[in-house]
Each structure stands twice: as C-alpha cells, then as structure tokens.
C-alpha cells in the first residue's frame, strides 16, 4: 500500500517536472495554432517572412547577447545604447561618404566601446552590473541627444546612399535574405560559445556562483569583459541591420529592445530543468513575443491592448512552468 502511494507520488512528480519544462514550448505552439485560426492573415508565407526578417532577427540578436550576460549572472541595461551608437556612427559615416564596410566597422567599434566601458566599470570600479549598465544607459542617451541637436533623426533616403544599405538589407544568398544569414551565424556562434566551449562553462560557473569560479582559478575579470563586450557587439549588429532596413538613424530607437531581450531570456529559462538561460530557450522566447505582437495586431487589438495580452501570456507561461515545478518538488 505504502509502496503504491510512493510510486504514484514519484510518477506524478516526474511528469509534473517534465511538463513544467515544456510549458513554454506548448504555449508557443498553442499561440501559433490559435492565431492560425483566429487571424486569417497570420499563417501566410508573406506574413511569416516579414515577421522573421523585420521583428525576429533584430530582437533575437540582442537577446542572444543578453543570454550570455544573464547566463554569467549579470544584466546589461545598456543594449539600447550599443544599438543606437552603432547605428548612429554607421549612418554618420555613410553620410560622410565612407565605404559601407568601414561604416559597419565604425558602428561595431562604437558598440565594442560600450561593452568595454561596462567591463571597466564592473571589473575595475567594482560597480555591480545593474548600476554600471544603468549609468551607461543614461550617458548613452545624452550622447545621442547632444550629437543630434536634441534627438533629430538622420534620414538617408536619397538614392545616392542606397548602395551600402541594400547590400546589407536587400541581398540574399540561395534565397535567404542576408539579415537572416547573419542571425543564423550569430546563433551558431553563441550556441558554440555557451554550450560547447570552455568559455561557456566558465560563464555558467560565474552565473551560478562567482566565488566558486574565482576559487577554481578562473580569470573572472577577463571573462566578465568578454561577456559584456560580446553582448554589446551583438547589439551593435542589430543597430546596423536596423539602420540598413530603415535607411536612417532614429535616436533612442534601441531602447525598445531592452525589455524584450531581457524578457525573452527569462522566458527561455523555463525550458531548462535548472532554469538557466540557453540559446534555444531565448530563441523560443523571442519567437513567442514576436508571434504574440503580430497575432494580436492581426486580430485587430490596438497597440495599447497588445501589451496587456503579452503581459498576461508571460504570467501564464511562467506561472505554469515554475508553479508546476514547485508542486513537483
């Protein structure tokens, strides 16, 4: 009798625990199925293609960077600054007549500097990542406003500027648009770094317990620098893609990515049994957010109500996932 109850308890616990890991994936599939029926325009090749190339690519690259940082136990509030400064320098250099390749390097260089500044504040001045990157966020906003007379966008819509933008945003390889190829490269790169390399193990150790990493002879400051610089450069890539698509630089446009990137990363932690950030989890998080936004728009919810829908979904998914797990324990 006792044995029976014991087994029953164990089985139900295991299935609950397993179910909790799949809650996000189930939610994603459910949301896709729902919109397929509820929003006629949703499951069309064109819509999906636009969704991926306009929304998913840009957010996913930033979120990959955020995944590295959160995986290492930090947070980067300055991803918007990396996006914007990269975009700003890129656009300004194009406007000044530099070659596209140099402008790209200039933009990425600006993002690199943001990461370097974060690393300096965190490693040398020992400011915690939240406050360090918050400070950089404030400074970055000011820099943009000062360099654009208070936030005037720079539009390079004239034909003479089109070549470098088209080379990035309008080309394709084997029918796959270049931005998507860039995303795939970023995914593979971050996946290998986080889940297959020594660096990824150190990141996990830093995230779990930084002191243990230090006591194990790991170069903590160096790895923290790599973490924050990687995140900034990935955000910089998004900045360049964003500018190339819209052929302009809009000050503070990068801010919009910050909370989505953090949200996607944390939603993604629900797929791993240890609740750790992972590349796959983050991508599912990004896709879930993008599909929700798009689907709610298509069924005619106005912008203000979309946020409510997304908020409720996040509660549902995470509540289900973490709640089931707690019950399982």
């Amino acid at each position: 009798m006792t044995n029976q109850t014991d087994t029953a308890v164990r089985e139900s616990r295991f299935s609950l625990e397993a179910a909790s890991n799949y809650a996000v994936i189930v939610a994603f599939v459910a949301v896709v199925i729902f919109f397929t029926f509820a929003a006629p325009g949703f499951m069309t090749g064109e819509n999906i293609f636009n969704l991926i190339s306009n929304k998913v690519v840009l957010l996913a690259i930033v979120a990959l960077g955020m995944t590295i940082v959160i995986g290492a136990g930090g947070i980067d509030l300055s991803v918007g600054v990396s996006i914007d400064l990269s975009s700003m320098i890129f656009i300004m250099m194009i406007a000044a007549g530099y070659m596209g390749a140099f402008a790209v390097m200039g933009g990425l260089g600006a993002a690199f500097c943001v990461g370097l500044l974060n690393a300096f504040l965190i490693n040398k001045l020992k400011i915690n990542p939240f406050l360090a990157t918050l400070g950089v966020l404030f400074i970055g906003k000011s820099i943009q406003q000062l360099s654009t007379q208070g936030g005037v966008p720079i539009y390079l819509t004239r034909a003479e500027y089109a070549a470098p933008f088209d080379a990035i945003a309008r080309t394709s390889l084997l029918g796959i648009p270049t931005p998507m190829i860039i995303l795939v490269i970023c995914i593979i790169g971050v996946y290998l770094a986080l889940h297959r390399s020594v660096f990824g193990r150190y990141v996990a150790a830093l995230g779990a317990q930084a002191d243990v990493a230090r006591y194990s002879g790991i170069r903590v400051p160096m790895h923290m620098s790599i973490v924050f610089i990687s995140c900034a450069v990935l955000s910089g890539i998004t900045g360049i893609l964003l500018s190339s698509t819209v052929r302009s630089y809009v000050p503070l446009a990068g801010d919009a990515f910050l909370l989505d990137a953090i949200g996607a990363t944390f939603i993604g932690t629900a797929i791993s049994a240890e609740r750790r950030p992972s590349v796959l989890g983050t991508l599912i998080g990004v896709a879930l957010l993008a599909v929700m936004r798009n689907g709610l728009l298509l069924i005619g919810w106005n912008f203000f109500w979309q946020q409510v829908g997304i908020g409720v979904l996040v509660f549902l998914v995470l509540g289900l996932s973490f709640g089931l797990r707690k019950r399982g324990e």
């Binding site: 308890v9 164990r10 390399s197 020594v198 317990q209």
Partner: protein, 504 residues
C-alpha cells in the same frame, strides 16, 4: 506530575519516496538542557522544522506543556512560548540591536515605535541576562557572531520564551564565546526553561546536556544521560558502528619538499612564516581565531599578496597575484565555506568537477565531452561519491559528498599541494571519516597538504607535523608522536612563547 515542555510522539514525515521521520519521539522536560544528536539526514532538522511549523507532519502527536497542537504555524508555536535560534540568518543586518530584539513586539507610542523605551529595555534585558553592556543602537552587522547569538536569545526572552531550541549555536563561536553562551544557558535552565540543544560537537553535548535523544535514520534510537554513557557510546548509537576507525591510519613514505615558504609576511596578519611541505605529508597549521593561520593559507593561494618573503614551488620562486596563478602552479584549496566558495550548488556534479581542469579535456577551447565524462565518471567511482549520475545538481548531495566533489575538482587538474581550510566543519561523523580517508589517499598519492583546523583532536590524529601559530608567528612545531591536544592548545594560547621568553 506536570506535563513535559515538549512532547512529540510517533512523528512520521514522508517526503515523496523518502521517509525522513519514522515513529520518532522527542520528550523534553522543563528545567533541562536536552541534546538532540544524529548524523546529517538522521532527521534532526526535520523534527525541529515540524515543531517550528515549517514542515507539516505526516502523522503523530505534538503537545507543548500538555496542550495538543493540531496545525502548527510559526506564529502559533511562538505564541506557546517556543522560540528557535536557527543556525544562520534571521537577524536583519541593517537593524539595530534594539530593533532586532523587539522585532514584531515594538513598544509603541500610538502608531509610532517608542525608540527611547525600546532602547532602554533592550539595554536592561542584555544586562540582566548576559551582564552585557551593548549599545542598543549598534547595528547587527557590527556585532560578532557570538553577540548576534546573544541578541537572538535575548529576543526570545523578550518574547517571554519558555522553551528555547538552539540549532548548532556554537558553530561559528570561539571557545571563550562558547563558555559564556553555556553559562547563559545554565542560568536559563535554572530559571526553569526547557532548552533543546542541537550540535555536532560531542564534547559540548557532554558538557552542557542533561539528557540526549539520539536519532538515526529518522527514529530515536535512545534517550541517554551523556555523563553516564560517554561520548563513545553516543557516537556509536548515531553511526551504528565502532568509533575506533574514526581516524583511519595511513602508512606513507614522506618524500622531498614540494613547496617551501620562506619568511613570508603579510603586514598585520603574520610575519616571517617559514616551512616546507613534503610530498605525502599532512602538515597541520593551528592557532586561535585571528592568529593568522587562515591568512597563511590565503597567501599561499594568491588571495592576499605577501609584503615580504617568498613561496618556492618546484625550485622556482612564485609570485601569486591571484588564485589563477596558484591554481596554474598546482596549488588547490578546499575552502572553509564549502557552499559559498567550494562548489557551485546550482551546477551539476560534472560541471563542478571539471571546472578547474577544462583545459585538459578540451581542444581549441571546445570541451571534448566524451573525454570529460570519462574523467568525471572515473573520479565519481574512485572517490565513492554518492550521486545518481554526473548530471545531478550538487545541491542535492550531502555535505560529505559535496566535499568529495571539491576534492575531485582538484584531483582532475593534478594539483600537487592541497590547502585544506576546516574541511570537516559542519559535517557529520560519518562524512568526517570519509574526508579523513580522502586526506590519507591524497597523502598516499604523494600530494602535500596543509591542514588548518580548530578541532585539535583531528589535528592531533591526522597530521605528520603541526605548526602552531600565535599572533602571526610560528611559535612551536611538533612532530608525530609529540603532538597532543593539550600541548597544542597551550601553545596556541601563547604559553610556549612565555616560557621561551623567560628562558631567553
């Protein structure tokens, strides 16, 4: 006859497939100090958490002063006069002494806290019970651990406690502080309080407890008077085995020096420390709290930079700027605070064990997972780590097994020198024996070990040589055969220095 202060009968507690308590009884009379002992996992903390209302019992009866309690909540049990002094935490570091003592019981002036009265009453209580003149406005974070314990106990007394439950109250205290805590407990006992005292330290149980309940595998296996049956018997009841194997013997040839420390000095911590560590040797380093023994270990591991002197490893002078250099030089450290510094409890057994040696199982920065799992599985088998597999999170392992994971981490990167900082603190008797076996194994493999411990008995039994450090200086050295606990204690308190000074 009056009812017992605490009467817990036939308590059962089932966690999923695990039976944590099996018909356990605990009966505590007023005016006694009642010891509760058992190995980790024996059910000590489970039964206490049931009493505290943190866990709900599966079945059984609980009465306090004859009153049967059906559903226990933390607030309800406090209302019955039962107070718990937990091992760590539970005082807000930014609160003042008076605020901590009167938390949830603040003297009011309308809706406001009457600080003047609160501070005055806090001073009075501290003085009355402990003859302690502590400024009630002092912040908790500024107090020593012993003073924090006293504040916790005072808080219980301010709430009119009739029963005190102390969980490992002496774990972080030095001997003088333990003495003063004990005299307080004796006074409270004389006042008629019932006190439950949980400790891993058998000598303390013997000294302070009138009666002891021994738990093993969730059942009470005996209620005895410690002064009658003695420590040996109690330990045997806990482990169900003979204690003569407590300190396993080893027979190891001591080899050439592997590390030499010459005139090492860290200003304000220790000076002119000189010694060699030989292959296969366990070198004890002991002293009172603050004597500088721990700082020597920290300097050898690159955590603090020496101001003078040198560390010579394999014939080469070393400059350890950080633990990175020490680890690369083949130095390993088993830190005192295992869960904060030794293992990452949220990572798996495998991830922890390969953390320091990933370089050896990777090519071009990528981890060769096949090679890695071979190394890890080998070590799990070799060290007898009790874990379902290498993917299990370390937090699900027992203390002794966690310590084995720390050792495994260093074995996998072929460290030559092991710095052990209180490796057996807060682990149960069975796990201690396993750690001693591990030390013997390291010695047999020709590793040099520096062993810092404040448990003089284990220093006496385990070391080939002991250096006693007093106020930052090595004042005595004993070889195996000359080492005994009394001698070490005398030296650690500086008596050797006195005699030598007289001779000179």
């Amino acid at each position: 006859m009056t009812a017992a202060a605490i009467e817990m009968r036939s308590i059962n507690k089932i966690f999923g497939p695990v039976k944590a308590l099996d018909e356990a009884d605990l009966v505590v009379e007023s005016g006694t100090i009642h010891g509760l002992v058992g190995q980790n996992g024996a059910g000590k903390s489970t039964i206490i958490k049931i009493l505290a209302g943190i866990y709900r019992r599966t079945s059984g009866d609980v009465s306090v002063f004859g009153k049967r309690l059906e559903q226990i909540t933390p607030a309800a049990i406090e209302a019955e006069g039962v107070h718990f002094i937990h091992q760590d935490r539970l005082l807000v570091p930014t609160a003042t002494v008076a605020e901590a003592i009167f938390l949830r019981n603040e003297p009011r002036f309308g809706p406001f806290i009457n600080y003047r009265q609160m501070n005055r009453r806090a001073s009075e209580l501290l003085h009355r019970y402990f003859e302690l003149d502590l400024n009630p406005r002092t912040l908790i974070s500024e107090l020593s651990t012993a003073q924090q314990k006293i504040v916790q106990i005072t808080r219980a007394l301010a709430h009119d406690a009739k029963i005190l439950v102390l969980d490992e109250p002496t774990a972080a205290l030095v001997s003088k502080e333990v003495e003063s805590l004990f005299s307080v407990l004796r006074r409270l006992k004389a006042d008629g309080l019932a006190i439950v005292f949980i400790s891993h330290y058998m000598s303390e149980i013997l000294e302070i407890c009138d009666v002891v309940t021994v738990l093993r595998n969730g059942t009470d296996v005996g209620v005895v008077d410690p002064s009658e049956v003695g420590i040996q018997k109690i330990v045997e009841m806990m482990t169900n085995r003979d204690t003569s194997e407590m300190y396993p013997r080893r027979n190891v040839e001591i080899g050439a020096p592997v590390m030499s420390v010459k005139n090492l000095t860290v200003d304000g911590a220790f000076e002119n420390v000189t010694f060699d560590i030989h292959a296969g040797e366990i070198l004890g380093l002991t002293g009172l709290l603050g004597s500088g023994d721990k700082e020597v270990l920290n300097a050898l591991f690159g955590q603090i930079k020496p101001d003078a002197g040198e560390i010579i490893l394999h014939g080469k002078k070393q400059k350890f700027g950080s633990p990175v250099d020490a680890v690369n030089g083949g130095v390993a450290k088993i830190p005192e605070d295992r869960r904060a510094h030794g293992v990452a409890t949220g990572l798996s057994v495998g991830e922890n064990m390969s953390l320091a040696s990933l370089g050896q199982v990777s090519t071009k920065g990528f981890v060769d997972r096949k090679k890695e799992s071979q190394v890890i599985d080998g070590l799990i088998r070799d060290l007898g780590i009790k874990t379902p597999d290498r993917h299990t999170l370390v937090k699900n392992l027992s203390g002794g097994n966690q310590q084995k994971v720390v050792v495994g981490k260093w074995l996998s990167c072929n460290s030559e020198i092991y710095l052990l900082d209180e490796p057996t603190v807060a682990v149960d008797v069975g796990a201690k024996v396993e750690i001693y076996n591990l030390m013997n194994r390291l010695a047999a493999e020709g590793k040099g070990q520096v062993f810092v411990s404040s448990d003089l008995e284990e220093v006496t039994e385990m070391c080939d040589r002991v250096l006693v450090i007093y106020r930052g200086k090595i004042i005595a050295e004993y070889k195996r055969g000359e080492i005994d606990a009394d001698r070490l204690l005398a030296a650690a308190s500086g008596t050797v220095a006195e005699t030598e000074r007289k001779r000179a």
